[in-house]
Symmetry: C2
Subunit: 323 residues, 2 copies
């Protein structure tokens, strides 16, 4: 009798398998380790009952700024009609460290990731491990960010279709034990499309799907003319931005590539939703009034909140936009 | 008469010239811009009198954690015998943004840079521009950090001789307008040697000079076995760490390469001083008691404070170690 050889999909061969049950680590060397100190959020397997604290988590929302992620948590209290017991308030669960903030509102985590891919990579690693220890399943990840737009009215919301690096490569490179490994960045097209469908058609701003360029540098990496260093001309800048715009890039930021690559590799559905603070075709400086930026930053938050409400089956006469 | 062609040094040809007078920007495209909003520290050329606020700055000290850089500022008040007027206290000058903190004690700035090179690159760009607008001259930059050591007792202080990336390359790459540019990372050997000479010979820990590996990733990038992702064995990890250790790497962190590359390119003297929180030959987890880490983190601070006191001609019967 001939032996049966199961045929593997490309994704299985590459080790990228969407996870369905409790989140498993992609680590062959971890079982030996008894405790697990999540150093940068001051939590640990032995010091905390992570399953009791986090087992019900279904949505993890990341953003750069600690204040913004506290505001998002406060917003989610209202959006989910979450009942806070008398005399209690939200608190930063990671208060033992000043590196990141971590809030929890029912099944939603709101986490800051700082700026840039390395800062994001540390916290996303530790949140993955936290969800593994808590035996969470079927979790969706979101990044809610700010960005520079290309040829778009400032305040536009972009749902990332694909994240690429500064050379338009759709993968993140990590120097690993002397080799430069490439991790493909793939986001969930289903979640992106569902978010787009939830965008308020009566809003006075656009919500679109497009490609996002993710850079390691805010000034030269994004072709700005106003950095301390700059050895190219305005014409060079404009030629570069036009070229990437022609290839579908709608906005530029500094975290989407790592976020997409690590979520994909972990087998976790994910989406990136960013508002644009300026049109890079028109300038480099962010000089919009603070209150305007505050309002714009709520746009990705409202969209993701609408997604979460829908998936939790929360009906309300009150639209998320008016909360 | 033959025309005279001045011979340029390699450094001049490459554009790397130590700056002596007021700090000049390395930017050919900047003069057009009237205002300059330093967005991530909520300061600006028009909104603030930057020269009045910062003209006397001579030393800029960076570190990852906001709390640590506040502690360093408080420590400098004592170390410089700085008289704080009655009813006044240190405040975060960048309080209009929650991205970084910025304290000033006389000629010393204490600044947080978050985690990773991209986060550092944003703040160092904006601090360079701030010093330019304030017409500061002869400024020295320090990074005071934490790191993983190689074959060293935890708590050891390393003064970085050379910063290299995860493939041992002594430069930082920045994708710039579609090209991958390489910026050499060179630190001041004079400042490093002077710091070493100031190390307390009676201390119960070692202070040494050595090479520092700077990575974009905390887990796989540093050959940890305890990340969410890991597809190598303990033997692979140990073989890699032994190989880099044999080539002079004493510690591993996530910012020195960008710090060294940008300071060198700006023509600014700089040094990196990090304490080790663990010996990576022995393990991956940082599980030292909080109070112990607090004490260790003060070691780079005390050393840099001794340097600053010496250069300001501050004599004291009280040793910095006992403040």
């Amino acid at each position: 009798m001939a032996s049966f050889i199961p045929i593997k999909t490309v994704e299985e061969l590459a080790g990228y398998i969407p996870q369905t049950g409790p989140l498993q680590m992609r680590n062959q060397s971890f079982s030996d380790i008894e405790d697990d100190v999540l150093y940068h959020i001051a939590l640990g397997k032995k010091s905390h009952d992570l399953k009791d604290m986090f087992h019900d988590v279904k949505f993890v929302c990341f953003g750069g700024s600690p204040n913004r992620m506290r505001s998002f948590a406060e917003y989610m209290v209202k959006a989910l009609n979450y009942k806070m017991p008398a005399g209690q308030d939200l608190c930063d669960i990671a208060h033992g460290s000043d590196r990141y903030v971590l809030y929890k509102v029912g099944p939603v985590l709101s986490v800051s990731h700082g700026m840039g891919m390395p800062s994001l990579s540390i916290i996303i690693h530790e949140i993955f491990k936290l969800l593994h220890h808590a035996e969470c399943s079927d979790v969706t990840f979101f990044r809610l960010g700010t960005s520079g737009g290309l040829g778009l009215k400032p305040g536009t919301v972009i749902i990332t279709e694909e994240a690429v690096d500064g050379l338009l490569r759709p993968y993140m490179e990590v120097a690993t034990l002397g080799m430069m490994l490439q991790h493909p960045s793939r986001l969930s097209h289903e979640v992106a499309q569902e978010l787009l469908n939830l965008a308020d058609p009566n809003a006075d701003f656009d919500t679109i799907i497009g490609k996002t360029m993710c850079t390691l540098d805010f000034y030269e990496g994004q072709a700005r003319l106003d950095g301390f260093f700059c050895d190219y001309s305005k014409e060079d800048k404009m030629a570069f931005l036009r070229r990437v715009h022609n290839r579908g890039i709608k906005n530029i930021e500094m975290e989407s590539l790592c976020f997409a690559a690590y979520c994909y590799r972990a087998g976790i559905k994910s989406a990136v939703v960013c508002v644009t603070l300026l049109d890079r075709m028109e300038g480099d400086q962010i000089n919009v009034a603070h209150e305007v930026i505050e309002e714009w930053q709520q746009r990705p938050q409202r969209l993701v909140a609408a997604y979460i409400r829908k998936h939790l089956g929360i009906e309300s006469n009150v639209s998320c936009n008016s909360i």
